[in-house]
């Protein structure tokens, strides 16, 4: 098949978990990578080496281990900055996950400062967001008296861009949207939406949680007016560990925002009466940061960069096209989202007539095929289709066509098990 990663079998060997089997000896077919990705040995080894040989707290420690740990931790930041083409390493803030990154922005926009959101202001999101890019903005608008508005999407899962003029106006202070939908798979037009938002002076916050694993991101290559002001993603979906998320922000914006969490590391000086705050990135990193996680994430993005994100993207597209094709042969199966692999990422949600998604996932699991059933943290997008939940398969760089075959076959079996027809 064209487009697959060269040496796919060799790549798969990098991921120890892929050789696991089910209790009755079936190979594991992991199709839940939009939920979390598996980790290559190099990431695990980097973390082990750090914990066994270089562990210390960072920044504050002046001794040998402290210097090594600081270099390793800050090295993770450098690698992340270069992975996304950030012009400045200090624009990369480590959070605990993508959700905290989004909350950080939403929370600090509620505080006094040049960017403060208030009554009458509008925050625009979309109906296809992950809950982590809806709830923080609900909280922000509820607390400040601003209005939350949103783009809807059509039957194909594409944003209704005819709403742009109505939604993005002089009142709009923030436009936020997911680059790639974790439920529909849709890839949204980042450049276009950003340009429109910038025309009215709004800031643009892009949730790249699903994009960063799948697409090359090169901030430096974007035209400034089309470059979002904030891009967030999460470590555990880019073959890195849990416990770390990334918030990249344009320096001027990050400097305008007040600090979020207060405490160690983020201060300049503290008296009992008042404190002043450190510069970027530390201003937004209160407390001991995710040290071993930065080491793991650094190894992870290096691994992806070595595979080449263009190649990873091609692989995802090839597998996604093959999967869409295979799924179309399952009677009663309806894909929720774009049917053209070129318009989408690798998460494919679907309904199967007559079998509830939980039951689909259960039967698949017994056959070793791991998919997700539920609302995938996107209830509003499900509500749009009049359903509570769906089944979702999501591939990644280690997914093979044979695994897609196993999925399709298991879906046929599911139908026969539940005697649908």
């Amino acid at each position: 098949m064209e487009g697959l990663l060269p040496d796919l079998e060799v790549v798969r060997k990098d991921f120890p978990i892929l050789s696991r089997t089910t209790p009755d000896g079936r190979p594991l077919v992991y199709l839940d990578s939009a939920n979390t990705s598996q980790k290559p040995q190099v990431v695990i080894d980097a973390m082990v080496d750090h914990l066994e040989r270089h562990n210390a707290n960072v920044a504050r420690a002046m001794h040998l281990l402290g210097a090594e740990a600081t270099e390793a931790f800050e090295g993770g930041r450098d690698k992340v900055a270069s992975f996304i083409g950030a012009s400045e390493r200090d624009e990369v803030i480590f959070t605990k996950n993508a959700s905290e990154a989004l909350n950080l922005v939403a929370n600090t926009l509620a505080l006094p400062g040049p960017r403060q959101v208030g009554p009458g202001d509008v925050v625009v999101t979309t109906e296809m967001e992950h809950h982590s890019n809806i709830v923080p903005w609900q909280m922000l608008t509820q607390r400040t008296g601003a209005d939350l508005r949103w783009f809807t999407f059509d039957d194909q899962g594409l944003l209704d861009l005819s709403q742009v003029d109505e939604l993005i106006t002089e009142r709009t202070k923030v436009v936020t949207f997911t680059w790639v939908s974790n439920m529909l798979g849709t890839i949204n037009p980042v450049a276009e939406l950003t340009r429109r938002a910038h025309e009215v002076g709004a800031i643009v916050v892009v949730d790249a949680s699903q994009a960063a694993p799948q697409l090359p991101i090169d901030l430096a290559a974007m035209a400034p007016e089309e470059r979002p002001d904030v891009v967030v993603f999460t470590g555990h979906k880019v073959v890195g560990p849990t416990g770390i998320g990334v918030l990249w922000g344009r320096r001027e914006l990050l400097e305008e925002l007040p600090p979020f969490l207060g405490g160690g590391e983020m201060i300049e000086t503290v008296t009992m009466e008042r404190s002043t705050y450190a510069g970027l990135p530390h201003k937004f990193e209160a407390g001991t940061p995710p040290i071993v996680e930065s080491v793991g994430l650094g190894a992870a993005v290096d691994y992806l960069a070595a595979l080449d994100m263009e190649a990873v993207h091609r692989h995802e597209q090839a597998i996604t096209a093959y999967a869409l094709d295979g799924l179309s042969g399952v009677p009663g199966l309806k894909v929720l989202g774009p049917l053209d692999a070129r318009l989408r990422g690798g998460a494919i949600s679907f309904e199967l007539d007559g079998v509830h998604p939980h039951d689909v996932a259960q039967v698949l699991d017994v056959r070793g095929v791991a998919v997700r059933a539920g609302h995938h943290c996107a209830r509003p997008a499900h509500a749009k289709f009049g359903v509570q939940s769906s089944t979702r398969m999501s591939s990644y760089l280690y997914t093979t066509p044979a695994e897609i075959d196993a999925l399709v076959e298991a879906l046929h079996y599911t139908r026969s098990y539940f005697k649908v027809d």
């Binding site: 939980h358 259960q362 056959r367 059933a373 539920g374 509570q388 939940s389 098990y417």
Partner: protein
């Protein structure tokens, strides 16, 4: 493998799923609750009518998987017509079965069709499904009793 599935999806369960008992929302009732399984989005709206210390009716509307639908249906069979206290002890018994990781021997005398769920206890991710309707029932029944004690208190105040 199919044996593993069959232990989960016993015929009784699939029957209740296809033909749920007591489904639909009915009057009268003292309490209505709405429970959600936040993980997967399954939902149940459930009403309880208690009269003279007896569970006179349980009616519901629900969306969810076979396990959650069937277990709600079985639950209504088991509790409707029983004194509240007895119904609560059946609830306890079912809870014990579900939390037993497959090591609890169900008592068919008490649980009737409910014993079909003993296989579910071996699937930790599905235990919540099997309990959704039961938890809603317990909540609603508690509220029914509260509302009655308040209104009967109200009565003595007169």
């Amino acid at each position: 493998m199919s044996a593993e599935l069959d232990s989960l999806y016993q015929e009784i369960i699939l029957d209740h799923y296809k033909n749920p008992h007591h489904k639909g929302l009915r009057d009268p009732f003292e309490a209505e609750v709405h429970h959600v399984n936040p993980t997967c989005g399954d939902e149940v709206t459930l009403r309880v009518h208690v009269a003279d210390g007896v569970v006179a009716d349980v009616s519901y509307d629900a969306v969810g998987c076979s396990i959650s639908q069937a277990s709600t249906s079985v639950m209504t069979d088991l509790v409707i017509g029983k004194p509240v206290e007895e119904a609560m002890s059946i609830h306890e018994e079912f809870l014990t079965l579900m939390q037993g990781k497959g090591n609890v021997e169900p008592d068919e005398e008490v649980l009737e069709d409910g014993i079909a769920f003993s296989g579910v206890a071996k699937f930790p991710a599905r235990v919540k499904c099997a309990l959704l309707g039961w938890m809603a029932w317990k909540d609603a029944t508690g509220q029914s009793l509260d509302s009655q004690s308040i209104s009967s208190q109200g009565g003595t105040d007169d």
